[in-house]
């Protein structure tokens, strides 16, 4: 196994781990964490592929990953806003129902 393969396989593992957890976990914040973990796996894959060979790394995939990270931050932001709304609604319902 080469270093490249080590990084690639680790990326695949982290991605799948995150996706499976996203599907299984019920707690909203934990799901969100799982989603972010999954995205970390793909980023690792892309960056490892960018750094193949001995020369200077390919800047294109690195730029892609930068873009990806910003996008995930935005997604995370809106997801937390929504999670907050959901949980507050649940709280309110709990307050109202008893």
């Amino acid at each position: 196994m080469t270093t490249l393969q080590l990084f690639l396989y680790a990326g695949a593992f982290i991605l799948v781990l995150g996706v499976v957890a996203t599907m299984l976990v019920r707690d909203l914040i934990r799901r969100l964490i799982a989603l972010n973990v999954a995205s970390g796996g793909v980023m690792l894959l892309l960056l490892a592929l960018a750094d193949r060979g001995d020369g200077e790394p390919d800047p294109v995939p690195q730029a892609l990953v930068l873009t990806g990270i910003v996008v995930m931050a935005a997604v995370t932001g809106i997801a937390i806003v929504l999670a907050r709304r959901v949980e507050r609604l649940d709280d309110d319902l709990e307050e109202v129902e008893p």
């Binding site: 991605l15 995150g18 996706v19 996203t22 599907m23 909203l28 799901r31 989603l35 999954a38 995205s39 793909v42 894959l45 892309l46 592929l49 294109v60 995939p61 892609l64 873009t67 990806g68 996008v71 935005a74 997604v75 809106i78 997801a79 929504l82 999670a83 709304r85 959901v86 609604l89």
Partner: protein, 485 residues
């Protein structure tokens, strides 16, 4: 401005209008959105003419050619889908402008701009990473739009977000594999260099899973019947008519370019077809068992997605794949127009009757005949009955199935329409009232005139395109799909 610069108009115009709408008054935002949609429609026509004259219109953004830069290109599929998006946005915007209740709040306007820009971008994208970013823009906008449906829609929106972003990550992995294998993220260039059947198969498989999640293809559909009905009416219409089409088109594109370069594509296509068949049956049956208008229509979308992916196995099996491509694209366009009409009309009915429950709609046909007519006509198109665009698409897919000798797809195409019609008839039936019993009908609050006209106009578009579909077909045939292969 050259024809190739036109490719950017459907992307940047709605984006700028969306950005400005965030800070403009509601009236100004609505006006700008409508104007932008109209201009987009004109652009689609101009691009269509260019495609008819000289084939696909390419654009190297910022003057950099692939692999360093990004290539966009408008072909028949792009043009037709941009036309659909312009029509759907125009319809939703008009209804939302007429009654704020259908929009869900001021944020509707900027978010619709973003969504329109994103789908139009997907329709011209030839670069898988650009497609990924566009999909994320679309996801953000759509999720926020769903959440405009009030406090209770947040959970639906969040569920949608998780599925959609997970789907995106699968696709991003496909992008990474494409780069890793071919050293480019440009589809045409990747197709030239793709020579490993396993890797290319994996790229297609990952795209299938990712896009199936985002499109709500059975069995990854369960979020859609929650999310689409939870949204405000104008948003529901856009989501079903337009948003799910973006991921479908990406799936088509990847298969168009990379499909010929792997032996795994054909069996994968069969799996997709089986999933589509299951979607048609499952979605149709559940639509028959729902009691709320919007829920029925959302399950109908689940079913119709099955038809939209049916072209994939047929492309591989038929001797002339072009017929399958054109038929599948037309069925998708027909669904967009009809589903927008149906959701907008259903929203108008529900808002007038004060309930979305079928048994609360009795008598609405007497007071709102045009709205009921729009639902009926839209259903006719969804069921693939003449004289609508849905029938044209179905006819061509039937021809492709016969060509492929694929009896099972043929049976599905023919039988599925009955299910579609059954739930449409159920909705229409619920609006009839026994003679002399107008007690309910009198209570109705009459909707604004625009809210009546728009769904009917959309339904009329289905019919007109069903009678004279040849122009669409000419544009779609100007450059045969699979040209990248």
């Amino acid at each position: 401005m050259t024809a190739s610069s036109l490719v950017l108009v459907p992307v940047f115009l709605p984006l700028v209008v969306g950005a400005l709408s965030a800070v403009l008054s509601r009236r100004a935002a609505a006006t700008l959105t409508v104007v932008a949609a109209a201009v987009t429609l004109v652009t689609a026509v101009l691009l269509g003419i260019a495609v008819l004259e000289s084939g696909p219109v390419p654009l190297e953004v910022a003057g950099w050619a692939p692999p360093v830069g990004i290539l966009l290109a408008a072909d028949g599929l792009s043009v037709v889908m941009i036309g659909l998006s312009a029509v759907a946005v125009l319809a939703a915007a008009l209804v939302a402008a007429a009654d704020d209740h259908f929009a869900g709040g001021h944020a509707f306007w900027p978010l619709v701009g973003a969504a329109a820009a994103a789908v139009n971008g997907v329709f011209v994208a030839r670069d898988v990473f650009t497609a990924f970013v566009l999909l994320e823009l679309l996801t953000i906008a759509s999720v926020a739009l769903v959440a405009l449906g009030g406090a209770r829609s947040a959970a639906a929106a969040l569920r949608y977000l998780f599925v959609a972003v997970t789907g995106s990550l699968f696709f991003l992995l496909a992008v990474a594999l494409t780069y890793g294998h071919t050293g480019t993220v440009d589809l045409a260039r990747a197709a030239e260099r793709a020579d490993d059947t396993v890797i290319v198969g994996a790229i297609i498989a990952l795209t299938v899973v990712g896009m199936a999640a985002k499109t709500a293809l059975f069995p990854l559909h369960s979020w859609l019947p929650v999310a689409h009905p939870a949204a405000p009416t104008a948003v529901s219409a856009l989501l079903s008519a337009l948003v799910i089409k973006a991921s479908i088109v990406i799936l088509w594109r990847v298969i168009e370019y990379l499909g010929p370069h792997t032996d795994i594509a054909a069996p994968l296509a069969t799996v997709v077809g089986i999933a589509g068949a299951a979607a048609v049956l499952w979605g149709g049956i559940l639509a028959l068992r729902r009691d709320r208008l919007k829920s029925i229509i959302a399950y109908s979308t689940v079913a119709q997605v099955g038809y939209m992916v049916l072209l994939i196995p047929l492309v591989f099996a038929a001797s002339d794949p072009q017929v399958a491509w054109v038929g599948g694209i037309l069925i998708t366009v027909a669904h967009g127009v009809a589903k927008a009409a149906m959701f907008l009309a259903a929203g108008a009915l529900a808002s007038a009757a004060g309930t979305s429950q079928l048994d609360g709609l009795e008598g609405t046909i007497s007071r709102m005949p045009w709205t009921v007519a729009a639902i009926g006509l839209a259903g006719v198109s969804l069921a693939g009955l003449p004289p609508t665009l849905g029938f044209v698409g179905k006819w061509m897919l039937v021809q492709a199935s016969l060509d492929a000798g694929a009896w099972w797809w043929l049976a599905l195409l023919l039988g599925g329409g009955l299910l579609t019609f059954a739930y449409t008839a159920r909705m229409v039936k619920a609006t009839f009232n026994p003679p002399g019993d107008f007690s309910r009908a009198r209570e109705l609050t009459r909707p604004a005139r625009t809210v009546t006209i728009v769904p009917l106009a959309l339904a009329a578009v289905s019919v007109v395109l069903g009678v004279i579909p040849w122009l669409l077909i000419e544009v779609l045939s100007a450059a045969p799909m699979g040209g990248g292969a």
